[in-house]
Amino acid sequence: GGQVRGASQPPSAPATQPGASASTSAAPAAVNDKAFVYAPNLDVVTDWDPATSYSNENIAMQNIYESLTRYNAASQKPEPRLATEWSSADGGKEWTFKLREGVKFHSGNPVTAEAAKKAIERTMKLKSGAAYIWDAVKKIEAPDGGTLKFTLKYATPLDLVASSGYASYIYDTSVVEKVKDGTTDAGSGPYTIDTWAKGKETELTLKAFDDYWGGWKPGQYKKVAFRVTPELTTAWQLLKNGEVNFVQRLNPQLFAQAGSTPGVQATRTPSFQNLMLLFNTESGPLKDVKVRQALQKVLDYDGLAAALEGAGVKGSGLVPQGLLGFTPGLEPKQDLKEAAELLAAADYGPDLNELKLSLTYAQGDADQQLMVTLLSSQLKKLNVTLQAKPMQWNAQWDLGKKKGQDIFVMYWFPDYADPYSWFVNVFRSADPVSFNLSYLKDEAIDKAIDALPQLTATDRAAAEQSYADLQKKIIEEKAAVAVPYVQTYQRALTAGVQGYVDNPAYPNVVSFYDLTLAG
């Protein structure tokens, strides 16, 4: 017999067209029976397990599962979610979280400290995806139903860790083994899975969880659909037609158009993701720090920002604004004269030797391509030939691990809102090479990096200072990296949607629960 596609409801129950006229026909403030349609550019879900999930599916999972805390980008601090309050002791090596009362998993089981303990322990045991965030945890205890106590091996800002976009979920371990096929979930969030059809255009639909602890108000969306739309122009046209409500990333031109299109609202938020040009400090022509410094000064940062038209903004240092350790005054500047002098000092230049540099960057990334275009045309004038190779990530990384290029271009963003991620992964020496693709090896720097977590957990001001010092050292003194821009999210929504806030700590995630349809 044939199987039936879609329809968790009986076919007799009529439903109105989702989103079809979300922007125009304002529904009365009564019930919002429209579905909110999100247009991702890739398949949504590849892994339904909240412990191991480490990909796009967090767009949906952040609405299905909840963690103890959530990062608030405005206050730059974690705020309550499943935990209502928390405190640390023993120089950041002991953390106690108080859990919210009366919260239920979608399975009907209550969210207790014991359940949370089991969930985190399972995540740690599976050691997959972003499970490393819990590496510092030595022991978890649940002294009573509402208290969760962590003992750590070393000091760490666990409130930040608990707000991570991945692997921080508290889930119902008694049903989690059944979530693989996407028919059920083990979460406690406002939404639960309605249908999932891998490979279909409308891949996933969510429906409201009626017993959500936050309760439901009229105007909130009780249905959410994910409609996979790989092409930007298609997504834009669907949005204009009101067929989708949210497009996660627009290019500058479409963004500009979105601003002036009736029925569409546009938002722009700087992200926590920045582009890095990692210079090979260990071998090749860039071993010479003067050449690296010259490179830092060659790139036309302002021209690039102008060309990006808001898709990226010039940052300051390694840490994007909105995170601890953001240090103003480290903005890069183009200075061709100085660059030429530095190069000449290293015997390169228009009248001296030709310099040949190889660069690898991500295939298919228009913004990186733009950067490469500008960089190579600038370098050409200085008798520097840039051989830029677009590569797929794993090929690029493979080559990088073998130290096969002079400049490695990549994005970096933290898994939880803590700048430590950049330093420990990218600039702390490691053998074999993993992500420290500038191959920087400096004991003093390593030591300073290792001290960061404890400072963050205990003395934020000291941590801030340490971050500032480290950035100056790495960028100015060692010239191991250039940071051309921090990405900006340029998103568009249908006009009737209210309550949208972009949280850069959770890239591309829309908190559907916070949205209402104007009426």
Partner: protein
Amino acid sequence: MTVVEPRRRLPRMPDRLAAFGAVLLVLIVASALFAPWLAPYEENDPRPLDKLLEPSSSHWFGTDHVGRDILTQILYGGRTSLAIAAAVLAVSALVGVTLGVVAGYAGGWIRDVIMRITDIFLAFPALLLSLALAVVLQPSVTTVILAIAVTWWPWYARLSASVAASVSTRSYVDAARCLGVPAPVIVWRHVLPNSITPVLVQLSLDAGGVILTAAALSYLGLGAHEPTAEWGLMVQQGQALFTTNWWVVTFPGLAILVTAFAFNVLGEGLRSALDPRRTVIR
């Protein structure tokens, strides 16, 4: 007395399509060759402040997202695209015709082996093979050439094998064998020259297809890459701007269309002149 003239219900069209295609093509090739003299601006000269200017008297085709003159880029890009087409066709014809002619002349198990290999490559989805190869070899113009040639040669092998097989049954081949001419000489002197015409026609029909495929590969980011100017790449970069800045994608798209069209017209014209039947798809 009655004179019956040939019936003339519809006006007869002079069949000058081949000539038309040839002229068009000469113009295209010339414009690519003389790009440095024809181009109004310097190649690959981004001026971010002049980006996305509409077509005007100073930028006939407008400027792209980094402020390069699109006309200039198209003229230079023609060099890449045409060079790719020429190289792909040369490589695949060389491989395909060699194998095909040998298979066609030798017959028997040699033919079987060669044809089975050809079949395998034909059954392998061409674009996937190209894509896979492009991934293996890293994107570059050479990669594009190899990647497309790998999927292209079987057509020539097949075509020339069938033609060579029929040529090999001609009695002048038998006569040459009876005169004691060695097999390689027979292939070179008789079989090859007499099987080449349909291949040549097919080559000109295919050139357009190669340009389109190369464009598609670049479009996917697997072919030519910055700062090489190439039409497919230009389309790829401009594609997301289609609704806001139509000229960025339209002009390179038209360049591809016109060139592919010119090759097709030439090939089709040649074919109707020489051989009405054969068509092989790209």
